[in-house]
């Protein structure tokens, strides 16, 4: 697509049943009541001049350029703030309006530099466009008087500059920060002529302010006042491709704006149904890793992990790898081989990796990173509702009256959706936060949680069961819903269980640390809604009772009838971009695509017929089981696509030992990640910008990923997997990912109606897409649960075996931060490090005082498993007795400290509860020093042999 700005209707779309018809410049147009005259004009092809109006925020009525004349009315009202009415007759272009607009524009231009030819927004500037539109030919005043032309440029933000000399004070940036992002970091400072956009407090620049660099202000700016540095450096884009972000599970749609093969900028696509035109600092700006110098683009092999890497051709690498795998299979059997699919790769790539493992390796030893994040969601929601997925679309939140956020930190981990949540909260919805840490959402501008249940880490089930106790014993159950939609016998068993006094808030308060009164009030608020929605994240799943907590959440939603309509539901916020898709595609060792168990003969027969192979009917190994089996000698080789288990998985020493015990570790990735330190084969990967395929976001929305540039390594990831399969003799012949999706669709009932063609037409589809739901399913379980009747499950609170004591008196919980993503492989290779250049340990002032620590001190963080060092940050954001850190930096290796305790049902690691001690330190731990040296040695690449 050639480059042009997305059409801007000036004011937001209005959803109303009543329609009004009016005449604009002689054309009849019918719009929903409440639509502005400006938007109505745009709907019928018109274009009223405007500067302060844009269609993703409320009308402001300040620029006075969009004036119109309306028959029977005095004056010239602003079309952006004037609602269209039945029978209205509007003129948008008259001599009177022309004169007024020219006068207004003249004033704007009188304090604006006339450097259009050298301006970075030249030919892409709304001010320039509107000056042309109103026919401005002369500016009579201003140049001798006071102006802002010499105002200094704020270049502090790594991604965009603020040049106040070009500002027309339209307030679009300020309003975008308020209405779209909800951070309220910007304001108009001063009055009258001195009015100026200002970030934060006096003395702040953009970097030091509360600005979160979401880019909404840059996108909103009609001039070059707020402009991407990349546009200044490269120039105006010349073409664009709509694609899907490869960061978190929100799945934002972006327009990749290109100049030649060079990416100029990523701009959120207004038609994206997940993000509705918004973005965050990662998706909007942090794409520089794609061209980072660390990127490896040639295949490499080595016999042992002690040797330097040797660059080889694709043919040699694939033949070497296939030879190794076939030899291991022949010697040790099919179950000695396995693979890990990537939640960062496409559905098609993930599907191929699990197919390679099942059909090529001959085992079911395939797993995915969801093992360490949302596998309990799979187990818990499948058990209670019948399928492993969130129940709602993101739009649903705008109809929620109460949001219960548990174990999630949306403003950091799912920032674009968090902005939607904040918008709804500012409209009056109530918020309950259940989290040991005071996450930003608890108190943020114009948002304050009704209740923050700062529970002790590891007591989720106790808190949720206590809430259920209140709901049942105080008669707050939606009896009609339960009777009609749920398994009543199971409900009665559950109700009896939770009613027991030992599950009362009073009885459990000592365990959970949550005052009984607060818990009761929160339970009542949730139960009374009327529309109550639960949003949860890894603070729910990454516990020894992760699956129980998911089921306890489902129990609450069913008991209160909060399932099956907009505004309610159970919503897992997925961590990585395609966690949902990777799970859907059969990445778990016990099930084929569409969550069908491998022991199901009918399903297996379907795949066997299609793939022309015989499949093992026993479940395979999960990732931690693979590592255990490697140490035992029965698991010898692994193909890992796009995951860095050495950094992301718990108990790093154990992971390292497991990998080191294998005969053949194949890493398929963009970079020599930490896992690659233990690899024998490195297959270079491609970025999301370099491939075609689909991602599925947290709302089950399948969206196209479109290639915008050629792969730096020469092959898209699905092509690499296919080449490896063929080197092993499988004879695959896919020519495009659309053919893989066709195969997925014919083998997976919930994807039955999905194809690249339909996705291209519709923009996106939410599974299930089948005969019953041909256009997909924004909300699930509307008329009945997938499993038939909803199943209440008794969830007894079983404390973790990870105990604090004298040696390890504090509880460590780990998490994420806005500017970094997962193991940081991508974001650490961008300017995002300016916000988070190292992992730090948050510690409460009381605990810090007891240890003589202050912010910035190096501290030793030790558990029963290992120790690391990092800097302390003293803050009351964490409760006394709790410390918190992130796992974004390999230099810290936070997972050296975490344990191998895991969820009872899925082995999802218990990252959120580790007993630790914190003390002052004067240097890195032995592990850190040894590991740094080993990593350096392992990443050696032998010089290429000279050509003969």
């Amino acid at each position: 697509m050639t480059y042009e700005r997305q059409k801007d209707f000036g004011t937001p779309e209005v959803l109303a049943e009543t329609q009004v018809t009016l005449i604009i410049d002689g054309r009849e147009v019918t719009v929903p009541a409440g639509t502005s005259v400006m938007r109505a004009a745009a709907e019928c092809g018109g274009s009223i001049p405007k500067l302060c109006a844009t269609d993703n925020m409320k009308a402001f009525g300040s620029c006075r350029l969009c004036l119109v004349e309306i028959e029977g009315r005095k004056g010239t009202p602003a079309s952006c703030t004037t609602p269209a009415e039945q029978g209205m007759v509007v003129a948008t272009q008259t001599p009177r309006l022309e004169k007024l607009r020219r006068g207004v524009m003249e004033l704007y231009i009188s304090d604006h530099p006339l450097d259009c030819l050298t301006c970075s927004a030249n030919n892409d500037c709304e001010l320039q466009d509107q000056a042309a539109a109103v026919g401005l030919r002369d500016v009579r005043y201003g140049y001798e008087g006071a102006d802002h032309l010499g105002a200094p440029v704020d270049t502090s933000n790594p991604y965009f500059d603020f040049d106040p000399s070009k500002c027309i004070v339209c307030s679009r940036c300020v309003r975008a920060c308020d209405e779209v992002q909800g951070t309220l970091a910007l304001t108009i400072d001063g009055r009258g002529f001195a009015s100026m956009v200002s970030a934060g407090q006096t003395g702040d620049d953009f970097l030091s302010s509360e600005c979160v660099s979401c880019g909404a202000c840059v996108q909103a700016c009609p001039t070059a006042t707020l402009q991407e540095k990349s546009v200044k450096e490269i120039g105006k884009p010349e073409r664009s491709v709509v694609t899907t972000c490869a960061y978190c599970g929100v799945g934002c749609t972006f327009r990749a704006e290109m100049r030649g093969e060079q990416l100029v900028r990523m701009v959120p696509w207004k038609d994206g149904k997940a993000n509705r035109g918004h973005s965050c600092v990662k998706g909007r700006f942090a794409w520089g890793y794609a061209n980072h110098a660390d990127r490896i683009t040639s295949p490499m092999i080595r016999e042992t992990i002690h040797e330097p890497w040797r660059e080889v051709s694709w043919d040699e690498a694939l033949a070497y790898t296939a030879g190794k795998l076939n030899a291991i299979k022949a010697q040790y059997g099919a179950r000695a081989l396995g693979g890990i699919t990537s939640s960062r790769c496409t559905n098609e790539e993930t599907f191929l990796v699990q197919k390679l493992v099942r059909a090529g390796f001959g085992s079911n030893n395939v797993d995915t990173c969801a093992r360490v994040c949302h596998s309990p969601t799979g187990y818990g929601l499948k058990t209670t509702f019948g399928t492993s997925a969130g129940t709602q679309d993101f739009d649903s939140v705008m109809q929620a009256d109460v949001m219960l956020v548990i174990g999630a930190n949306p403003t950091d981990a799912h920032p674009v959706f968090a902005s939607r949540m904040k918008r709804r909260l500012r409209q009056g919805a109530k918020l309950i936060v259940i989290d040991p840490r005071r996450i930003d959402l608890v108190r943020t501008p114009h948002v304050s949680a009704e209740h923050h249940l700062a529970l002790r880490p590891g007591t989720n089930v106790a808190v949720l069961t206590a809430m259920a106790h209140v709901i049942v014993t105080e008669g707050l159950v939606d009896q009609a819903f339960v009777a009609e939609r749920c398994d009543v016998d199971a409900f009665e068993d559950w109700a009896r269980f939770v009613s027991d006094e030992r599950h009362s808030p009073e009885f459990l308060a000592e365990v959970t640390g949550v005052p009984a009164t607060t818990l009761r009030e929160a339970a009542r608020l949730y139960a009374k809604g009327p529309n109550s929605a639960i949003y949860y994240g890894l603070g729910v799943t990454e516990h020894s009772q992760g699956s129980s907590t998911v089921m306890a959440i489902a129990n609450l939603a069913m008991a209160t009838g909060n399932i099956g309509r907009p505004g309610v539901g159970v919503n897992p916020l997925r961590g990585q971009n395609n966690v949902q898709g990777a799970c859907d595609m059969g990445s778990f060792p016990h099930e084929l695509s569409g969550y069908r168990h491998i022991s199901d003969g009918d399903t297996r027969a379907l795949f066997e017929a299609d793939w022309q192979v015989s499949l093992d009917d026993d479940p395979g190994l999960r990732i931690p089981n693979m590592l255990d089996a490697a140490l035992d000698g029965s698991f010898r080789a692994i193909y890992i696509q796009g995951e860095d288990i050495l950094q992301s998985d718990p108990d790093t020493r154990h992971v390292a030992a497991g990998l080191a015990a294998m005969d053949c570790v194949i890493v398929h990735d963009l970079f020599l990640n930490e896992t690659a330190n233990y690899a024998h084969v490195f297959l270079p990967g491609s970025t999301f910008l370099e491939k075609d395929g689909t991602f599925t976001n947290a709302e089950r929305r399948i969206q196209l990923v479109r290639k915008v540039m050629e792969p730096a390594n020469g092959l898209q990831d699905w092509q690499v997997t296919q080449a490896l399969a063929n080197a092993m003799g499988l004879g695959w012949t896919y020519t495009h990912p659309r053919e893989i999706m066709d195969e997925i669709a014919r083998l997976t009932p919930s994807f039955e109606g999905v194809s690249f063609e339909r996705l291209d037409e519709q923009g996106s589809l939410q599974w299930p897409v089948n005969e019953a739901n041909p256009d997909g399913s924004p909300v699930m379980h509307v008329d009945g649960f997938v499993r038939g009747k909803g199943l209440f499950v008794v969830t007894d609170y079983v404390p973790t075996d990870e105990k604090t004591g004298l040696r390890f008196p504090l509880l460590l919980t780990t998490g994420r931060i806005l500017s970094q993503y997962n193991v940081g492989a991508q974001t650490r290779r961008t300017a995002n490090v300016v916000w988070h250049e190292e992992d730090v340990l948050e510690i409460h002032p009381v605990d810090a005082e007891n240890r003589g620590l202050k912010s910035g001190d190096w501290v030793r963080l030790a558990s029963r498993k290992g120790e690391t060092t990092l800097r302390a940050k003293v803050t009351d954001r964490v409760a006394p007795g709790v410390v918190y850190t992130t796992f974004h930096h390999p230099e810290t290796q936070a997972n050296v400290v975490t344990t191998d305790y895991s969820d009872w049902a899925t082995n999802c690691p218990e990252y959120k509860v580790t007993a630790v001690q914190v003390s002052r330190s004067n240097g890195p731990s032995d592990w850190q020093e040894n590991y740094a040296e080993l990593a350096d040695r392992s990443r050696r690449i032998a010089p290429a042999e000279p050509a003969e």
Binding site: H306, G658, A660
Partner: protein
């Protein structure tokens, strides 16, 4: 020079083909953990649920491993479930 983090004797690992895997003590811990989380359903139901869970989610090597385990340290529910697994 620091040693490479690895498993003791990793290079001399036995040739095990589809045999029992893993530290059976760890498998017993896992079985107990599963049983403990089903316990509130009542003992008979918990035994059946534990057995079903192991059947559905453990690979053959793990099942063989728990069957090799002598039963020491298994909770009553886990022990009954493993016994039922042995009987097929």
């Amino acid at each position: 020079m620091p040693s490479w983090p690895t498993a003791p004797g990793a290079s001399r690992l036995p040739n095990r083909r589809n045999s029992a895997i893993m530290d059976t003590g760890k498998l017993a811990y896992m079985a107990n953990q599963i049983a403990r989380n089903f316990a509130a359903q009542g003992e008979d139901e918990a035994v059946a649920a534990t057995l079903d869970h192991i059947a559905k989610f453990w690979d053959p090597g793990m099942k063989a491993g728990i069957l090799e385990h002598g039963g020491e340290g298994l909770s009553p529910i886990a022990a009954r479930a493993i016994s039922a697994l042995r009987e097929g």
